[in-house]
């Protein structure tokens, strides 16, 4: 049985269909690929690169990049060191996955909460729906970053995970609104109506009929929420409000601004994290655009 599955997975036909998927969803595949490589590269590299090199005083301060060995058994600082002697390269290797992790935590929880709210509101309607709609409208109007700044400047954020949780608390409105509007149209579709006329219970209709059709929207919502969370986390960290004891992309930007890396021409300090951030956002943007195409096939023509 298991062998059969494996053989089928390896058959030429499934390869062809996978290749077809890649070819027809170039944006999605490229985007997810970029994010995946960024997320994984740090973990892979941590096998080879000593984490202590991202600590303060790992090398001489403010050294430009050089491939020459810094000392015996020390491979040198490929991206130089910052004002406090951190190895910028090692700092980024640890910081990039941390930043993506914050985004994923906040994105997942935000989509989960948003889906629950939007789904129940759209499906059951009534007073609860009025409440959900109002709450969503209110929190879509309030700039989330502002409220996050209040929270984070009052509460000492000590870990990457804690920052992810805090950002998650404001990541639900956009998914909630999207899922609610989808559920509203889906509720009136023939297949749901027929299931209901047949006396299928609410729970079964939701799980068996509606959730599978919502999957592309959930995926698009997840990517969108993750991008927003990454943006918020980098913004907060760049303001010096994130956890200061764990490397992250925003924290590197914060320190480089704090020590005037721009004025002092230390491009190797602010340049590489910026490149990674730009790459990360382009990856997320492409993934979101690609998922949009799957969810609304009509967009395909215009892209």
């Amino acid at each position: 049985m298991a062998l059969k599955v494996v053989r089928r997975a390896l058959s030429a036909q499934s390869w062809a269909s996978a290749w077809h998927f890649v070819r027809t969803n170039k944006m999605l595949v490229t985007g997810l690929g970029i994010v995946f490589v960024l997320a994984v590269s740090g973990h892979v590299a941590s096998i080879f690169v000593d984490a202590e090199r991202a600590d303060v005083g790992a090398g001489a301060p403010a050294r430009p990049p050089s491939w020459l060995p810094a000392a015996k058994n020390h491979p040198g600082f490929a991206l130089g060191t910052d004002q406090q002697g951190r190895d910028v390269f090692a700092d980024l290797l640890l910081g990039t996955p941390a930043t993506i992790r914050i985004g994923l935590i906040a994105g997942l929880l935000g989509v989960l909460a948003g889906t629950l709210l939007g789904f129940t509101g759209g499906y059951f309607g009534g007073l609860w729906d009025t409440f959900v709609t109002l709450a969503t409208d209110v929190f879509m109007t309030i700039p989330a970053l502002m409220i996050l700044i209040v929270i984070v400047s009052m509460v000492q954020v000590l870990s990457t995970e804690a920052l992810g949780l805090i950002i998650a608390s404001l990541a639900w409105p956009a998914p909630a609104r999207m899922i609610r509007s989808q559920v509203l149209t889906m509720r009136e579709r023939a297949y749901v109506q027929i299931a209901r006329l047949n006396g299928v219970r609410d729970f079964k209709i939701i799980v068996m009929e509606m959730v599978p059709n919502l999957l592309p929207f959930l995926a698009a919502g997840l990517v969108g929420a993750t991008a927003a969370a990454v943006l918020a986390s980098i913004g907060l960290s760049a303001l010096g409000l994130g956890p200061q004891n764990e490397p992250s992309l925003g924290l590197t930007i914060y320190w480089s601004l704090f020590y005037g890396a721009l004025i002092r021409g230390m491009w190797w300090w602010w340049g590489p994290p910026m490149l990674i951030i730009v790459l990360l956002f382009i990856g997320l943007f492409l993934a979101a655009a690609g998922l949009d195409q799957i969810a609304n096939p009509r967009l395909r023509k215009s892209a």
Binding site: T141, I142, L145, M146, I147, V150, L257, F281
Partner: protein
């Protein structure tokens, strides 16, 4: 526009302000941090206050600011204060009222943000429409990835790149501030020129990022509009190209842009906060950054409240203006 709609829309504004004020009140109090205590210990560390009697001083101040009253009464008093426009006093700026500190900074932010957003909106929309226009040169499509990249980068990172390129490497523009250091501002050409020169880079950062977003959006709208029958009809009637583009295409495709403006306004304002930090531009955003660095809680809360309320009011105004732009919209309950 129906009365019902105006009422419902105003209710949302009230709800937004209520939530913002309530969050602003409860978050600091739930966090268990005491700003007065923190400031006094800081002063003690610098050797300004007798450490032995610090608790007495804290009690004294808490009574003075009403922090010893029950929470619900503090909450009501907080509302009463806000209604009177009293946002408390800045802890670091030696007791200057928060509202004074904010008002001093506000003109810079409004000037920068308004100009930059309007420029980005106009240029981006026009550019996006041209990208989708059938008579545009084929080479135009090469700009689409550029727009995608620009829209994916946070404003303040564009700002850092601009500083590096146009203020450090080639020193065309100043890297920070709003006018030449030490200049006495007056209604003179020198002042205006100096303010302009300092505003170029920060606004370019916002405009570039905005063009990406508005351009991509507009391109999508325009492609849909191009498929409409009235576009073909206008063409068969033999109307001039320019008229079809502006009055038939642009006019219709631009409408959803205004809705989008309402949706991303909050995002633009947040982004501008960080642009000001990068450029040390003396606006509200930079003041917020300084308040965070110096633990000036009242100032932080005041600025956040101001930003939230102004975004909400801006959205309300835009929603009210929308029927004027699009006569098809009546806002009546179906």
């Amino acid at each position: 526009m129906s009365v019902d709609y105006v009422l419902r829309r105003s209710l949302l504004l009230v709800a937004v302000i209520f939530v913002a004020v309530t969050l602003n009140f409860f978050i600091p109090r739930l966090s268990g941090r005491n700003p007065i205590e923190a400031r006094l210990y800081e002063a003690a560390a610098q050797g300004g206050v007798n450490v032995g009697r610090i608790n007495e001083i804290i009690d004294e101040y808490e009574a003075k600011f009403g922090l010893d009253r029950p929470l619900w009464r503090q909450y009501l008093f907080y509302w009463a204060d806000i209604m009177r426009g009293d946002l408390g006093v800045s802890i670091q700026e030696l007791g200057t009222p928060v509202s004074t500190v904010i008002l001093r900074r506000l003109p810079w932010t409004i000037g920068l943000l308004l100009t930059a957003t309007m420029l980005a909106f106009t240029v981006g929309s026009l550019f996006g429409a041209l990208l989708a226009w059938r008579k545009s040169p084929r080479a135009f499509t090469a700009f689409v990835p550029l727009l995608m990249t620009l829209s994916a980068i946070p404003f303040y990172l564009l700002g850092i790149v601009l500083i590096f390129g146009l203020a450090m490497t080639w020193q065309f523009f100043p890297a920070g501030g709003a006018y030449k250091f030490g200049l006495d501002l007056a209604w003179s050409w020198e002042s205006i020129w100096s303010i302009f020169k300092h505003a170029v880079l920060p606004s370019t950062a916002i405009v570039l990022g905005g063009i990406g977003f508005w351009g991509l959006n507009m391109r999508g709208m325009m492609i849909t509009t191009m498929g409409e029958d009235y576009m073909k009809f206008a063409d068969y009637k033999g109307l001039r190209e320019k008229r079809i583009f502006l009055n038939y295409g642009l006019r219709n495709a631009a409408l959803p842009q205004f809705t989008a403006l309402a949706i991303v306004l909050a995002h633009v304002v947040s982004g501008a906060v960080l642009v000001e930090v990068v450029f040390t531009y003396p606006g509200v955003g930079h003041q917020l950054y300084r308040a965070i660095v110096t633990n000036d809680y009242f100032l932080i809360q005041g600025i956040i409240l101001l930003v939230v309320v102004s975004v909400a009011v801006g959205l309300l105004i835009m929603d009210m203006l929308y029927p004027l732009l699009d006569p098809r919209i009546r806002y009546q309950r179906s």
